[in-house]
Symmetry: C2
Subunit: 440 residues, 2 copies
C-alpha cells in the first residue's frame, strides 16, 4: 500500500459543491488502495476576506493575532472536507497545523518549517482514516503560538508532510493540467510537460510560471519528494517534478528516480535542451547612471538596495567608458519594491557618487529554461537570432547554468514568448485547452 | 488589583465597529486598574452560517468535524478583538479553548467542563497582558480533540474561567440592562433587579427568562462566582447574581457575600418575597386520559417518555375517579419534543393500559419566583386570586420551594404576566427602556 499526499487549493474548495467534488476525488484515491493525506487551503477568497476584516479593525494588525485569525480559514475548509468524506462512508479526520506536528520558527506571517512530527497523523492512518491537514499553518514550540507559512504555504505544507511521512508521491491539484512549456493563455501552442526536473521547475517558477511556488519546489528537491502537478477538474496525467540527482530517490508512483533519469534522457533526443519559456511582467528596471568604475562601488550600491529588503533579480553592468572612467549599472526588482529602492538610492546618491537614476516599469522579462543547456552551446545564439528576426530589442541579458533571461519592452514580451517557443521546437500540434483564470 | 472576567456575546461583536467598541470597553476596565480576562463569542451570525455550510456539505455532519468547524467562529472574533486592543496600545493575547486549558469530556456538541488549567492565561496576566479567550470551546485530554460546550457555551466559559482564576467578578455583557422582574417587552413596568440569588435566577431562567443560561448560573452557584449581568451599550449597573449560602463567598466588587445577605434582608422589607415573574410559550401539554389508578402505572408511562429524551417539565395527576378507578395525567414538554413523545406513547398505549391521548400546544406557562416564598404563606392564594379577578383560567399548577408555576391558555399568558407583576408590587414607576430585539 502506498501513501499519497494530495494538496487542494482554495479555488478547488470554493463552495460546498467544490468540497464534495474534492471529497469524491480523495475517496477514489482511497478506494484505489492508497493511504491518503490531504493538505487543504482555505475556501475561495476566505483568507482575503479575513484580511479585509482585520484591516477594518486596525490598519496594522498584530502579527500573532493575524495568524490566529487567518488560520480559521483552513480550519473551516478542512472540517467541511472531513465531514464530506465521512458522509461518503469513509473515515476521515481533520488536523490543524499544530495537531499535525507542523513545527515552525516564530516568524508570524512567514514562518519556516523547522520540524514535522506527524505522530497523530500516523495514528490516524494506522486506524484506516483519511487524514486532512490544514495547509499554510504551523506552530512554534517556544512561544506555543500559531504561525502561518506565508505565500504558497499550502503547497509547502503538502510537500513537508510528504517528506515527513515518506510518501510515495505528492499530488498538487490546481486548475490547470500541469506545467506547460509556456503560459497557454499567451502561447496557444504551449505543450504540457510530462516530466521536469526540480531544478528546471525552480527556474521557471522564479521567472514567472505561477503553477508552483518556488518554496515548495525547493523543499521537494531538498527532501527528494516527487511532485505530480495536475488538474482537480479532470483525471489527466499532469506533470511530474523530480530530482534526478536524488541518490535515495523514492520509487514513487511515477517510477523510480533512476528510471526517471533514463526516460528523461530519451526525451532529450526528440526535445532537446529546453524545458520551457516563462515571462514576467511584474518587474521594473532601475538604472544607476555614471557609477565611478572603482573597486567596491557596486558593493556599496547593493548594500543600500539590500537594506530595503527588495528582491533584486537581474543585474547588468556595462563596460565602463574609457573617457569618463564611469559605468552604468542596471538591475530589476519587483515593481512593488521599486519606489522604496529608488528612495533609498536617491537618499545616498552623493555618498555613493553616481550621477543619476532611471526608473522603467515598462519592461518584460523572458526566461528560457532547460537542464540540457549545460551541455549544449548555441542556445543563446539561437535565442538572440529569433528575437532579432522578429525585430525585438534585447535590453538586458543574464544567464545561469540552465537558464537565459532577457529583458525586452513590456509590450513585446508576449510576442517574444510565442516566437521563442516556436524557434525551440516546443510548439504542440494543437492549441492547449485553457482552464481557470489565473493559472493557479 | 482585582481580576475581572468579562463575557461579550455575538451581538456585541457583530462587525469591526462592534469589535472596536468592545475593545475600548475592555481597555477602560484595564485602565481602571484591573486584570482583565475576556470570553468572547463568534461574531454575529457566524456560527449559524458555519452550520448552514456544514449542512450544505452533508445533512448529518460528523460531530468531531462540526466542532472543529464551529470553533473557527470564536477564533476569528478573539483574534480581531486582541488586535483591536493592541492597536489601542495595550498588550492583548488571544487563546483558543484548548490553549486556555478548558478541558472537557469528549461529548462533541455539548461537552461538559471537567477541569480548567489556565496556565498560559496566568502567565499572560503576569506579563501584564489582557487575555482574550474563545468562548464555547474546549478540548478533550484523551482524544486530544476540540470540543464545543453547546448552547450558552460562552457564558459557561466565562464563569468557568472566573472560578478557575479566582476572579473577583464575572461580568456578562448583553444587549439588555440586566435581569428584569419580567420581560420588559411584555410588561412595560418591569423593573431591573439590582441583586438576585443564583437560586432565584435559576428558576427564572428555567421558566423562560432568556438573559442568562441555566448552565452558567448553575456553574456560578456551585463555584461561588458572583455574576454581574449588564449592557454592553451603556455603563449602567446591571444585576448582581450571587449565592447567599456561599461560605467562602468572594468579596467581589459587588461587596462581600455576608454583606450581600444582610442587604438582601433589608431589601426584603420593602419588596417582599418575589424576585420576578417569567412566561414561557414554548411548551405543549400532553394529557394521558384514563390511566388505571394502580401502583407503578405512572412509572411505566414516564419510562416511555424518558426514552424519547424529552425534557418533561410540569406533571399533574388528577384525583382518580371512584367510579372508574382511572385517573388523568398531564405534563408539559418543549413543543419540539411533543410529536416524538406522542408517537412513543401511542405505540405503547395498549401495554400501558390508558384510554387516549390529548395534545395541546396552545398553552402558556407563568412562573412566580422568589426565595422569600419559603417563609411566607399566602403567595399562592394571592396569585390565584389575581388571575381569577382577571378572568384567567388556571389549567395546571406546580410548585417548588421558591416558585409557583401555572399553565394558562397561550393567549392569556402576557395579560397574566402584567396582572401578576402588578399584584405583587413589582411595577416600576416608569416604563423600562427596551434595547435589542431578543432580550439576549
Amino acid at each position: 500500500m502506498s501513501l499519497i499526499v494530495q494538496k487542494f487549493g482554495g479555488s478547488s474548495v470554493s463552495d460546498a459543491e467544490g468540497i464534495r467534488r474534492v471529497a469524491k476525488r480523495i475517496v477514489e484515491t482511497r478506494k484505489a488502495g492508497h493511504d491518503v493525506v490531504v493538505a487543504v487551503s482555505a475556501m475561495g477568497d476566505t483568507t482575503d476576506e479575513l484580511l479585509d476584516l482585520a484591516h477594518e479593525v486596525t490598519p496594522i494588525p498584530a502579527p500573532r493575532e493575524l495568524d490566529m485569525l487567518l488560520t480559521a480559514g483552513e480550519r473551516i475548509s478542512m472540517a467541511l472536507l472531513a465531514m464530506a468524506i465521512k458522509s461518503m462512508g469513509h473515515d476521515a479526520r481533520s488536523f490543524t497545523g499544530s495537531q499535525a506536528g507542523m513545527i515552525t520558527d516564530a516568524q508570524h506571517g512567514s514562518a519556516r518549517i523547522v520540524d514535522v512530527t506527524p505522530v497523530r497523523l500516523r495514528e490516524a492512518l494506522d486506524e484506516g482514516a483519511i487524514v486532512i491537514v490544514a495547509g499554510f499553518q504551523g506552530f512554534n514550540r517556544d512561544t506555543k503560538d500559531i504561525t502561518t507559512l506565508g505565500r504558497g504555504g499550502s503547497d509547502t505544507t503538502a510537500v513537508a508532510l510528504a517528506a515527513a511521512l515518506n510518501a510515495d508521491i505528492c499530488e498538487i491539484y490546481t486548475d490547470v493540467d500541469g506545467v506547460y512549456t509556456s503560459d497557454p493563455r499567451v502561447v496557444p501552442l504551449a505543450r504540457k510537460i510530462d516530466r521536469i526536473t526540480s531544478e528546471e521547475m525552480l527556474e521557471l517558477a522564479a521567472n514567472g510560471a505561477k503553477v508552483l511556488y518556488i518554496r515548495a519546489v525547493e523543499y521537494a528537491r531538498r527532501h527528494n519528494v516527487v511532485l505530480h502537478v495536475r488538474s482537480s477538474f479532470n483525471n489527466n496525467e499532469g506533470t511530474i517534478v523530480y530530482n534526478p540527482d536524488s541518490a535515495t530517490g523514492r520509487p514513487g508512483i511515477a517510477g523510480g528516480t533512476d528510471e526517471t533519469v533514463s526516460e528523461r534522457k530519451e526525451t532529450v533526443v526528440e526535445n532537446p535542451m529546453i524545458a520551457g519559456v516563462a515571462a514576467d511582467l511584474s518587474e521594473a528596471k532601475i538604472t544607476i547612471v555614471g557609477v565611478p568604475d572603482i573597486p567596491g562601488k557596486a558593493a556599496q550600491i547593493f548594500k543600500i538596495v539590500a537594506k530595503t529588503n527588495a528582491n533584486v533579480d537581474m543585474i547588468v553592468q556595462n563596460v565602463s567608458s574609457a573617457v569618463t572612467g564611469r559605468t552604468d549599472i542596471s538591475f530589476t526588482v519587483p515593481m512593488n519594491d521599486g519606489h522604496r529602492v529608488m528612495q533609498a538610492l536617491e537618499a545616498e546618491k552623493d555618498q555613493a557618487g553616481f550621477e543619476s537614476l532611471q526608473y522603467d516599469d515598462q519592461i518584460g522579462k523572458l526566461a528560457l529554461v532547460g537542464a540540457g543547456m549545460r551541455t549544449n552551446s548555441g542556445v543563446s545564439a539561437k535565442l538572440f537570432e529569433a528575437l532579432s528576426d522578429a525585430g525585438i530589442n534585447i535590453e538586458m541579458i543574464s544567464t545561469s547554468e540552465i537558464r537565459i533571461s532577457v529583458v525586452t519592452r513590456a509590450d513585446s514580451v508576449n510576442t517574444a514568448l510565442r516566437i521563442v517557443h516556436t524557434a525551440f521546437g516546443l510548439d504542440a500540434d494543437t492549441a492547449a485547452e485553457v482552464h481557470g483564470g489565473t493559472g493557479r
